[in-house]
Symmetry: D3
Subunit: 331 residues, 6 copies
Amino acid sequence: MMLKCAVAGVPFGGAKGGVTCDPTKMSINELERLTRRYTYMILPLLGPEKDIPAPDVNTNEQTMAWIMDTYSMLAGYTVPGVVTGKPFELGGSKGRGYATGRGVAYVTSEILQRLNIPLKGATVAVQGFGKVGSNTARFLHQEGCKIVGVTDLSGGIFNEDGIDVPSLIKHTNNENYISGFDGGEFAADYRKANEKLIRSKVDILIPSALENQITEENAPGINANVIVEGANGPITNSADMILSKKGKTVVPDIVANAGGVIVSYFEWVQDVQAYLWTEDQVNQRLKQVITEAFLKVWNIAEKYETDMRHAAYMEAVRKIVEVTRLRGIFP
Amino acid sequence: MMLKCAVAGVPFGGAKGGVTCDPTKMSINELERLTRRYTYMILPLLGPEKDIPAPDVNTNEQTMAWIMDTYSMLAGYTVPGVVTGKPFELGGSKGRGYATGRGVAYVTSEILQRLNIPLKGATVAVQGFGKVGSNTARFLHQEGCKIVGVTDLSGGIFNEDGIDVPSLIKHTNNENYISGFDGGEFAADYRKANEKLIRSKVDILIPSALENQITEENAPGINANVIVEGANGPITNSADMILSKKGKTVVPDIVANAGGVIVSYFEWVQDVQAYLWTEDQVNQRLKQVITEAFLKVWNIAEKYETDMRHAAYMEAVRKIVEVTRLRGIFP
Amino acid sequence: MMLKCAVAGVPFGGAKGGVTCDPTKMSINELERLTRRYTYMILPLLGPEKDIPAPDVNTNEQTMAWIMDTYSMLAGYTVPGVVTGKPFELGGSKGRGYATGRGVAYVTSEILQRLNIPLKGATVAVQGFGKVGSNTARFLHQEGCKIVGVTDLSGGIFNEDGIDVPSLIKHTNNENYISGFDGGEFAADYRKANEKLIRSKVDILIPSALENQITEENAPGINANVIVEGANGPITNSADMILSKKGKTVVPDIVANAGGVIVSYFEWVQDVQAYLWTEDQVNQRLKQVITEAFLKVWNIAEKYETDMRHAAYMEAVRKIVEVTRLRGIFP
Amino acid sequence: MMLKCAVAGVPFGGAKGGVTCDPTKMSINELERLTRRYTYMILPLLGPEKDIPAPDVNTNEQTMAWIMDTYSMLAGYTVPGVVTGKPFELGGSKGRGYATGRGVAYVTSEILQRLNIPLKGATVAVQGFGKVGSNTARFLHQEGCKIVGVTDLSGGIFNEDGIDVPSLIKHTNNENYISGFDGGEFAADYRKANEKLIRSKVDILIPSALENQITEENAPGINANVIVEGANGPITNSADMILSKKGKTVVPDIVANAGGVIVSYFEWVQDVQAYLWTEDQVNQRLKQVITEAFLKVWNIAEKYETDMRHAAYMEAVRKIVEVTRLRGIFP
Amino acid sequence: MMLKCAVAGVPFGGAKGGVTCDPTKMSINELERLTRRYTYMILPLLGPEKDIPAPDVNTNEQTMAWIMDTYSMLAGYTVPGVVTGKPFELGGSKGRGYATGRGVAYVTSEILQRLNIPLKGATVAVQGFGKVGSNTARFLHQEGCKIVGVTDLSGGIFNEDGIDVPSLIKHTNNENYISGFDGGEFAADYRKANEKLIRSKVDILIPSALENQITEENAPGINANVIVEGANGPITNSADMILSKKGKTVVPDIVANAGGVIVSYFEWVQDVQAYLWTEDQVNQRLKQVITEAFLKVWNIAEKYETDMRHAAYMEAVRKIVEVTRLRGIFP
Amino acid sequence: MMLKCAVAGVPFGGAKGGVTCDPTKMSINELERLTRRYTYMILPLLGPEKDIPAPDVNTNEQTMAWIMDTYSMLAGYTVPGVVTGKPFELGGSKGRGYATGRGVAYVTSEILQRLNIPLKGATVAVQGFGKVGSNTARFLHQEGCKIVGVTDLSGGIFNEDGIDVPSLIKHTNNENYISGFDGGEFAADYRKANEKLIRSKVDILIPSALENQITEENAPGINANVIVEGANGPITNSADMILSKKGKTVVPDIVANAGGVIVSYFEWVQDVQAYLWTEDQVNQRLKQVITEAFLKVWNIAEKYETDMRHAAYMEAVRKIVEVTRLRGIFP
């Protein structure tokens, strides 16, 4: 997270914390009391200028609302900036829900431009159709890309003429899964569907499901020339080397899916400034920030003749070292 | 005030406080010392994140300057955001003086659009020619409305061809009252003038003087199809029901005159951000915020087939309940 | 500094502090420890809402970084707004390096417009080619002015067809001094070169080197009709009176070179808002603020039939007195 | 309370606050949550240096524990000094439970000495046998006084040879009321018993039950020469004048029952010093403080030839005026 | 530590923290900088009302001085109460060096009294002659006990007529170890010496060296009727059961060696009160506090017919549970 | 002051501050407002843990009351410990008025004991009869010393049989000066009286008036064997050397008149502890502290074979160096 922020120029670091419990076995009341007590116990570390929690697996907008309320009551006044990912009514940001997908789409657009592949009409395969995958597909579809394959836990949909993404999203909103959608050829075995998808003859492959999906086994069979990491760590190290040798262009997660943390930062800025942005402003500034990060990394890769993943780490480490050097060690 | 803020989406609540005294019998020095001591005594409740006073009857920009100075000196540094309605030189906002009138004009423009009445050429009667009434008249006149009647404590001016509002304002700047202005027919008895005005055959009636001006007695005689509440509570409950039955459209105070508190909020935002907005920016953002509030209420009224006053309360209560539910009760 | 801020509408005051030492004889480690201890000792006076240091002679971006780090570590979280002039990586502002020169150019453009002298093709002599002089020349050259003379400690370059300023800047970036540049006639004796420059037959003379360069001796020989003070106090009092009698127009330092402190203020605003501006935004807002200050002073000079220096002081004192009167004396 | 503290030299003032509710109808959980929320809401007024609650009717040690815990958790560390009357385990004081009674006994001993009545063998009638009355009787019995009459809501016990107070206390600890005790003549009608008690032929009468017990009706029949007010306001104004004319010596409540607040102050001191006193130290210092207060008032009464009640008010007002004069009015 | 404090009535809890490093390989300068940085990093947890470090293995008075200075400089004023065990010149307590030994001696005196063994002339064997053992021996010798055996890493000294403890201390001050002292029979093999010592025919055995010295192997051979734990945990669980069955009286560490933390608490109290105690006051109050703790535990053991170790745990847990119950769980 | 505190073991430093004005020409109202504004301006440096003002020439108890009130109101609660020398009603200390004189008397008693001169019957000459001189004379007279000479600005009183000090104090309370007192031979020329006094054949000479009274001119004629400096710096450097050679014993000001600052410290301690001491407690603890300081210095003088002045400086510097060394330099 710290590296991702450093590349994007977001003035945040990285830390995690949690409580060992099974929230599915707790009442809403127990969850609230647990969250408030936990907030109290880590209080000296929290604050809009210190550590700013955001939701992750098993926590959500409501959890953030409780943390924010507890911190605020202890402070004596409302402090929306102490968390991000909170409900819009309590100072949350417009556009945060689909920010990662939107960022992946922006980055995809940029990489195609660099490689002289026209965005309009480009063919795309998307692995995973959750928050990231579906929104990525939606925005690329809006830009004129042809989404020819999509998979999720229920299987895969393939359609060489391009899937009607808005209809598919409407379908999954109701049915949770893509299975049952009749806008293409359906493959019910999700492992086979995934393997088929990864080998699709497309311009762009966007793994946006889980870690370690592209391995040394299936990497040699990849046809796409561009892989954009929508998920965190979808390509294993050894697969990465295979792709590199084959001359594939990989946009690493640290750049490609930074949209989420960038809009978290925007939410905090809006809270600090006590003035909310419109959805358009959020999206436009997200585009500006993620594009700039992409270009910085692209240029380093060009200059040092390396791949984008190494370039991204170089930039992240350079930034952190530079700041540490400038500030010095206190006391 | 809390309901007004909830409808407008302004993150403020509502509270009042004061000192029992007769400021007209006190020297400026006594007023200053009284204000400073009072500020000191309510200090634990004040602050840019807690309670932010603004001037009301018998207090003014100078009072706010003293409160701000006292709070700031006690804090150890300048805190402009602790009050609104302060002089521009100390961090006050451009455009605050006429904000309520401007807001009434924006809302009038919106309601006409919804009712398919062209703004240009619409006839208007304005009750009261103080800060709210005169500025409402000024802005509507600028937009091409015909202001055919105006009243104040000195009587009423009526002119079917439209009053020359800029000249009338120049006149009242010098003479305090509208009497003596020769741009129309003058009626010296202000009660009769008022009754005449309320029954005018106009498109829009804008009561912007005192409470309880439209009652069950004069309500049945109202000809205007649109009444926009520039003042707080100018229509009695029973009059409201009469107007409702007659199919008149009333834009309630909670929406119509929210311009004042919206720009108070803008002043606070500018102080929090340490960067002042231009007059244009203030006016444009006021338009955006009050129009959005109007539309929200309009849509609720449409959806639930009720009048705008009930719709406004529905929205205000919904917002407050939602926020309270999300935050929960601490501890 | 306080007067300069008052004219420009920047909400800062003025103060200086320092340590008696010879930094050229100290190691980087000793400088760091000295700076940190000094910061600690003046701590109760520092803070983004109290006193905000900026670099001056013998201190630089690194010094500001140490002060910022010390203050932040003592506060318990990063407080970029406690200093300005810090490195961009730590929250410094784009465009700060050349802000004073850019401001001088904006002001020059404004004064010419008032005097009906076309900016394009106007002839300019610039004394000093450091941070202020070189950037002033650069921006005026971009606007189409003809820079016909430039001096520094190594001598002077004169070229009636206009010096190629970008080339000269490239030269001085490498050689530190202008001597050796072959884009004009070179005069090696810097005193003679200076006197020649001051007497140049140009439209505009911009002294941007040291104090007291235009004296009662050389003032009578000045040919330029407009003198813009890039440096602080380049004209002696008696020279000022001579120029005044000769009908020359002098734009005083308090207005002309305010660009530096204006962008210092912008840096602080960006830190308070936790959101950095683009270089374009900085420049455009600098233009807006310094032009407004120029116009305010110009109009006062017109209204009270005085020169711009007196007008500037009138405005500065008026502002400070007004604010003090409004706030009152506490307790 | 403020006057009582002023006479005793205790650096406290006086204030009351509460919640309108019926605690007998609330669960312990509801009481805890109500207390914590109330504490939160008055938080800006609370603190060991600001306002220090103590229990009164319907609140007790447990309520104080909750207030203390809530305040402490909000402060971030344990702050025992924010309340007095808390459990000993949480920083409460030894000897606080019987402090008022002990103080009444000390004051009785002092007044007898002044009037040359030997303490040993003096006869005493005590109205009320709650916390104050029973402890007063206990300590006077220890000093050799003969307690010849005691009343409570269940009636009265009279024994000219002196009641065995320790046995009576043991009895009431078990039975709550004095009825059923066989160490004297029992009168079951508590009104008649009270009237009999008030008219007893004793040296000292100690009303320590409710307000307005000695009225213009029964005052003329009082035989005791000394009345010590254990309760607050047991003598009506008119009764007071009758007693004064009859030459009776009344020790007013403001002096006589100050023992409670004095030990509250001691509890706070122990918390401030983070070191608890032994029971002996508490009692010895209570004696010193209440005796000093008594003597101050006695001497003023002598000097100004007035009764002790007036003398006590004179001293209290003098102290408050003097302190206010010395400090002045801020700002 | 928490249990020990609970038994002694000291309002402290228990926590540990440290840095993984080898201080023997670091310069004094490195140690200072490491200590200061560590202090900075745990700052939010430190403070005289929060967590109060004290020295342990590998840290000493100097370390405490650095922590105190760092905390104080960050606070802006001197805060001696943030650590205990600091040098006397910086607010440390008299008598802290030998407090544990003194406490062991007090407790030994109390247990003998309970068992009707005269202190004067009682025979004692002391295992270990470091800070605890030597001071225990010193104070018991002062009270007239006969110290007949002492061991350390260099071996053991045995003398049935009683060792001259002051001379032995003088010896170890010079030579570090007891070997070489000629005031008794010397046994050079420290294992054998220890076994001999543990089986000595004495009234009291005081293991004050390391953990797990009395085991199921040597426990059956113990002749002393009283064992007082000067060290932490010198008796294993199984040995404890053997001694219990044999009817030996063990005073557990939690009571016996609480003198150290009690005087740490006194040091903190002196700092909070800003007034230092004399050595006599420290010793007298130590005696009072540790004796009271002993008696509380003794009485519980009597009442519940258990050994002192169980009684001590019962009291500690009772105290903590009671306080937790009274305060409740927040929020 | 810093050295004086170091010798006495008082944890204070030394600093001075003031306002350039002539208080004799200002109204009480102007003095109050000046004091409050001055307090506000040095606020970041003030506080019971930072800098604690005390009255000096031209300021008094009332000034301290204003400073205390201003600081307290700015803090939000009463902070008596921010000043010393305030009125008793606001938390001042008993016994502060005569503390310096009392301290001089204690020190005189100690030095006589060391020199084997009996205190009872010792003859004393006191220069100056202000707060220090008169109280010194009073306490020594109480101890049985014979005060044979006293001077002030009005002249000198000499009486070989011992002056009746209580009568003389009663006289000066009424008449301000000693002239007119008939309990001895009066010398009206104060210069001559002083010279006579300095040369008196007495055991002890106590200069307690102004600086530089004992010079190289009159030093050779001094007969007293012991000189105790009640004033600050009454002996010039050269006179000091003469006295040293003559074998006279001088108790330096840094030790002799430390009573004032010691009781200032006691006042602060009482405020920190929120519990006032009795007059007896103050005097007894003063005796203990000043005697200990005297003994420390006496022993150093013995050990290093030097005079007490050098010994006092040695101790003061040792203490400060030791503390600085232990704490180290931060950051």
